[in-house]
């Protein structure tokens, strides 16, 4: 019986090892090198109780008519605010969208009621998640350019933010 116990223990040990190895693998899954543009990054924009930071978009690919907009929005107020949309000379429309995976199917939805920025909390718009969609861009976005977008909030009103154009596969803007 002792042997049986030992074998069982060994099997469990091996299983936990392989799990640990898998977990380790996942931690390495991050994107490639995010475009580092720390020096040129915009300073956070303060608008009432909101702080908008790390706004970036990606260089558009040939033929692409849409661009994503990504940023962090923090709300220090005791009331929630709501990002409704925005305008820009660089695109026909600015919409708030959410991308989700349903199994293997990618789903894209417009948040017609906008996005809530919780009281005392923040919202993060990132590639692959919540984001702004700049629809029918007037000309391609080139890496290094700045795209000014006037965002509209239910309470804070209109706020102009400069979106730095990163590489076409930029995962984010790095602060060093």
């Amino acid at each position: 019986m002792k042997i049986l116990f030992r074998i069982t223990a060994l099997v469990f040990f091996a299983a936990s090892l392989s799990f640990a190895a898998q977990a380790h693998d996942h931690s390495k899954m991050g994107q490639g090198d995010p475009a580092a543009m720390s020096e040129e990054m915009m300073e956070p924009v303060e608008a009432g109780d909101l702080t908008l930071s790390d706004a970036f978009t990606r260089a558009t690919l040939p033929g692409a008519k849409v661009g994503g907009g990504y940023l962090k929005i923090a709300n220090s107020a005791s009331e929630p605010d709501r990002l409704i949309g925005g305008t820009t000379a660089a695109a026909e429309r600015v919409e708030v969208h959410e991308m989700k995976m349903d199994g293997n199917v990618m789903q894209m939805r417009q948040l017609k009621d906008g996005l809530e920025i919780p009281a005392g909390g923040s919202a993060e718009l990132t590639p692959g998640g919540l984001h702004l969609m700049l629809m029918n861009i007037t000309k391609p976005f080139k890496e290094g350019d700045m795209i000014p977008v006037t965002l509209e909030f239910a309470k804070a009103g209109k706020v102009e933010v400069q979106f730095m154009v990163g590489a076409a596969n930029a995962a984010g803007m790095e602060h060093n």
């Binding site: 693998d25 899954m29 661009g67 429309r93 995976m101 293997n104 417009q110």
Partner: protein, 196 residues
């Protein structure tokens, strides 16, 4: 009852249980293994150079097949950038592999649009587009989900299956690479496919 007999009895029980478990596992594997579903179809479409392309393009070499559209803000560029990276890493080993990007939005994705788009990643990816009915036929035959979703002002986006399908030399589905799959795993799958 003597102890020795009991011990033998118990060991026999364990042996019987092990055999039972192994057999259950094997038969379970057989029944849950993918059944031979007929995937793929004959089709008449146009490649990004404006030339006719048919199902013959998926035969005689390993194939990676990805369905998407050029107005796609995230999944398609990410996947195609990764594909370009894998092709790079495969180097000579990936010589035979052919990669196709099939548009699920043929109304907007003309051959010229597709050509300019795929060229941004690598010259190894060939865009396929054509008549919506023919695209639809191809999409359905590979059990791909693709649906138009209206946005404001009569505009639309597409929900679609984001996996890359890996086909062997006889155009049979061997495996798939999921969106944001671990790059090492994806590369291993491609190597297995090529080794065929």
């Amino acid at each position: 009852m003597n102890i020795r007999l009991l011990r033998y009895g118990l060991w026999a029980g364990i042996a019987a249980l092990s055999i039972f478990l192994v057999l259950t596992y094997i038969s379970g594997r057989q029944t849950t293994a993918p059944r031979a579903v007929e995937l793929g179809t004959s089709f008449n479409l146009i490649d990004q150079n404006g030339n006719p392309i048919t199902e013959a393009a998926f035969k005689g070499h390993p194939t990676a097949l990805f369905f998407g559209f050029t107005h796609c803000p995230e999944v398609c560029p990410t996947t195609l950038f990764e594909m370009a990276d894998w092709l790079n890493k495969l180097g000579d080993e990936g010589r035979d592999l052919r990669v196709f990007f099939v548009s699920v939005d043929p109304e907007r994705d003309t051959p010229e649009v597709m050509k300019g788009y795929t060229a941004a990643f690598t010259d190894r990816i060939t865009g396929i587009t054509g008549k919506p009915e023919e695209i639809d036929k191809l999409v359905k035959s590979w059990r791909i989900y693709a649906k138009k979703v209206p946005t404001e002002n009569g505009d639309y986006t597409m929900d679609h299956t984001a996996s890359v399908m890996l086909l062997d030399r006889d155009s049979r589905l061997k495996s798939t690479i999921d969106y944001k799959e671990n790059s090492d795993v994806a590369l291993k799958k491609l190597k297995l496919l090529i080794a065929g």
